[in-house]
Amino acid sequence: MSVLLEIEDLTLRVPAVEILRGISLQVATGETVGLVGESGSGKSSTARAALRLFPDEAQAGGRISVGGVDVLSAGDAAVQRIRAHDAAMIFQAPRTALNPVRRIGDSATERLVQVHGLDRKAARAKLLTLFEHVGLRDPESLLRKYPHQLSGGMLQRVVIAAALSIDPKLLLADEATSALDVTTQAEVLALLKRLRGERDLGVLFITHDLHLAAAYCDRVYVMREGLIVDHQPGATIFENPGNEYTRQLADAVPTLPAQDSTETGKVGSR
C-alpha cells in the first residue's frame, strides 16, 4: 500500500472566513476513507483542495500531495495531469455538476473524448458498460437525454459512471450515494468495493452519515468547523468514539440512508 492522497495541516481561508483550520488526512491505494461531518464543516472544501479547486480569492496553506505531486506548488500542467488521470471527483450535487444545455452523453464522455482523446464511439461504449454497472436501465436512450429529464438518483449514477470512466487511482466521492435509494446505494457501494479490490482504487468517501461511513470505510475522519476532531477505524468508531461530537453524530444520524431532497432536484449546500 502506498499513500495516494496526503494532506498535512491544510488551511484555507477566503477573506473574513477560515474554512479549513489545519486538516491532516491520508488515503492509501486500495483504501476507503470516510470523511464525516455536518453540513458546512468543510468536507467538500477539503476534497476540492486535493484538485487545487479553490474559491476565488482563497488562500491555502499546508501541504497536499496526490501520487507524490505537491498540488499546491506544482505547475499547471502537473495539476492538469492529476485531474485528468489520477484523481476523479464526484460532485455533491449531480444536477448542477452536469451542463444543463448539453446531452448526458456529451457531458459524461467529455473527459474521455476531450481530455483523454478517445474517439467518440469508444468513449460511449465504455460509458454504456459503466451505466449498466451503476444500475442505469436503457443506457442507450439516456445518452440522448438532457439533465432536466432525469431524476436526481439517475443523475447521481451518471456522474459516478463518468468519474469511473477514466479509471482513476483516487476517487473523491462527495456525498456520491446520498440521493440513491437503499438498493441502488448498495449496488454502487459494492461496485466501488470491487474496484478497490481489482484496481487498488483509493476512495475518499464523504458523507454526513456516520453509520454508513463506519460500516463501509476502513478508517473514518470526523470533521467539525474546519478541523478533524476524531479519527478511528470504521469498525470501532461506535464502541469507542474518540470525541463527544462523534457520539452526538452517532446518535443523531438515522441508520438508513435517507432518500433526501436531491431526488427531486433540490440540492443541499456544498
Binding site: 476540492r48 484538485l51 479547486l53 476565488d56 492538469q80 495531469r81 492529476i82 485531474r83 485528468a84 488521470h85 476523479a88 471527483m89 460532485f91 450535487a93 448542477t96 455538476a97 452536469l98 451542463n99 444543463p100 444545455v101 448539453r102 457531458s107 467529455e110 473527459r111 476531450q114 481530455v115 438532457y146 432536466h148 429529464q149 468519474a163 477514466i166
Partner: protein, 314 residues
C-alpha cells in the same frame, strides 16, 4: 399547438398594426387629392371626382382599409402618389441597400461585440476589462448621427479612405461604401452585445458544471468554449436578435447622413411629400421585419437550450 398559437398571434399583430398604420395615414392632416393633382389649376370638380374614384377616396374609411388590405394580400401595396410607380417595385429597389447595410452592421456588432465581451469576461477585473467596459459605455452614450459625422470627417474627408456618400458599385464597391455607415449603425450595438456577453459569461463561469469540467482536466480554452460560452449563447442570440430587429427599422438617420437610398431615406422622403401608400408600406415592412427576426430567435433558442422547449412546449 404552440406553433398554432404563435401563428395566430402573428396574424393578429399584423391585422392590428396594419389597421393602426392605415388609420394613422387616414387621420394625417392634408387632403391626398391635393397632393395627387398637384397643380392647383387642374383642380376641376371632374378631375377631383376622377382622382377620388381612382384611389378609392370616395369610399368610407373601413372599405378603404379593406380594399388596401385585400390588395396587400395579393402582393399589391398600391402605387406611389409621387413616382406613379408600384409601391412594391419602389420598395424592392430600395430594400437591397438597407438590407446590405443592416447585414454588414449585423456582422460587425455580433463578431466584435461577442469578441470584446469574451475578452473582458476572461480578463475580469484587469485593466483590459476596465478599458473595454469604459470604451463601450462611452460608445453607447454617443448618438448615431454624431458617430456618423465624426466618421465622415475623419475617414472620408481627412484621410479620404472612403467616399463621403452613396452606396457604391458592385459587391466590393458596396462593401467599401457601406463600411462607415455600418460602423456608425453598429457602434452602440457592439457596446450592448459586449456587455451582455461579458455579464452572462461571468455568471456562467462560477457554475458547478464549469468547475466540474475543470476538475477533470478540461483545458481552460475548451472549458470556455464548451461550457461558459456555449451556455451564454441563449442570452447573446436573444440580444443580437432584438438589436437586429430594431436596426431593420432604424436606419433612417444613418441613411440620411450618408446619402444612402434605402428604405429609411425613402420613408423620410415619402413623409415629406405626403406619399401615403409608400409610408404605409414602409411602416408595415418594419413591423413584419421585426416580427420575422423575433420569431427566428424564438425558433433558435430551444435549439440552444432544451430546457426552454420543455417549459413552453406541450
Amino acid at each position: 399547438m404552440v406553433a398554432l398559437r404563435r401563428l395566430g398571434a402573428m396574424v393578429l399583430t399584423l391585422v392590428i398594426s396594419s389597421f393602426v398604420i392605415f388609420a394613422g395615414m387616414y387621420a394625417a392632416p392634408g387632403d391626398p387629392v391635393a397632393f395627387l393633382i398637384g397643380n392647383p389649376e387642374n383642380m376641376t370638380p371632374e378631375r377631383i371626382a376622377a382622382v377620388r374614384a381612382e384611389y378609392h377616396l370616395d369610399q368610407p374609411f373601413l372599405s378603404q382599409y379593406l380594399i388596401w388590405a385585400k390588395d396587400l394580400l395579393h402582393g399589391d401595396a398600391g402605387s406611389s402618389f409621387v413616382y406613379q410607380q408600384s409601391v412594391t417595385d419602389l420598395l424592392g429597389s430600395r430594400l437591397p441597400v438597407t438590407l446590405s447595410l443592416v447585414a454588414y452592421a449585423g456582422v460587425l456588432f455580433v463578431v466584435i461585440g461577442v469578441l470584446l465581451g469574451v475578452v473582458s469576461a476572461l480578463r475580469k477585473g484587469t485593466a483590459v476589462d476596465a478599458l473595454i467596459t469604459g470604451v463601450t459605455t462611452f460608445a453607447t452614450s454617443i448618438p448615431n448621427f454624431v458617430v456618423a459625422v465624426v466618421l465622415i470627417s475623419v475617414f472620408a474627408v481627412k484621410l479620404r479612405w472612403f467616399s463621403v456618400s452613396g452606396p457604391g458599385e458592385g459587391f466590393l464597391g458596396r462593401i467599401h461604401h457601406l463600411t462607415l455607415p455600418a460602423i456608425a449603425l453598429a457602434l452602440g450595438a457592439i457596446a450592448v452585445v459586449s456587455r451582455v456577453t461579458r455579464q452572462t459569461m461571468v455568471e456562467q463561469q462560477s457554475l458547478d458544471h464549469v468547475e466540474a469540467a475543470r476538475s477533470y482536466g478540461l483545458t481552460s480554452r475548451k472549458t470556455v468554449v464548451r461550457h461558459v460560452l456555449r451556455n451564454s449563447l441563449g442570452p447573446i442570440v436573444t440580444m443580437c436578435g432584438l438589436i437586429l430587429a430594431g436596426m431593420l427599422a432604424g436606419t433612417v438617420v444613418v441613411e440620411g447622413v450618408f446619402g444612402l437610398n434605402g428604405i429609411g431615406s425613402l420613408l423620410v422622403e415619402a413623409i415629406n411629400t405626403h406619399d401615403f401608400p409608400v409610408v404605409q408600406a414602409i411602416l408595415l415592412y418594419m413591423v413584419i421585419a421585426y416580427m420575422v427576426v423575433t420569431v427566428l430567435v424564438d425558433l433558435i433558442y430551444p435549439l440552444l437550450d432544451a430546457r426552454v422547449s420543455a417549459r413552453s412546449g406541450s
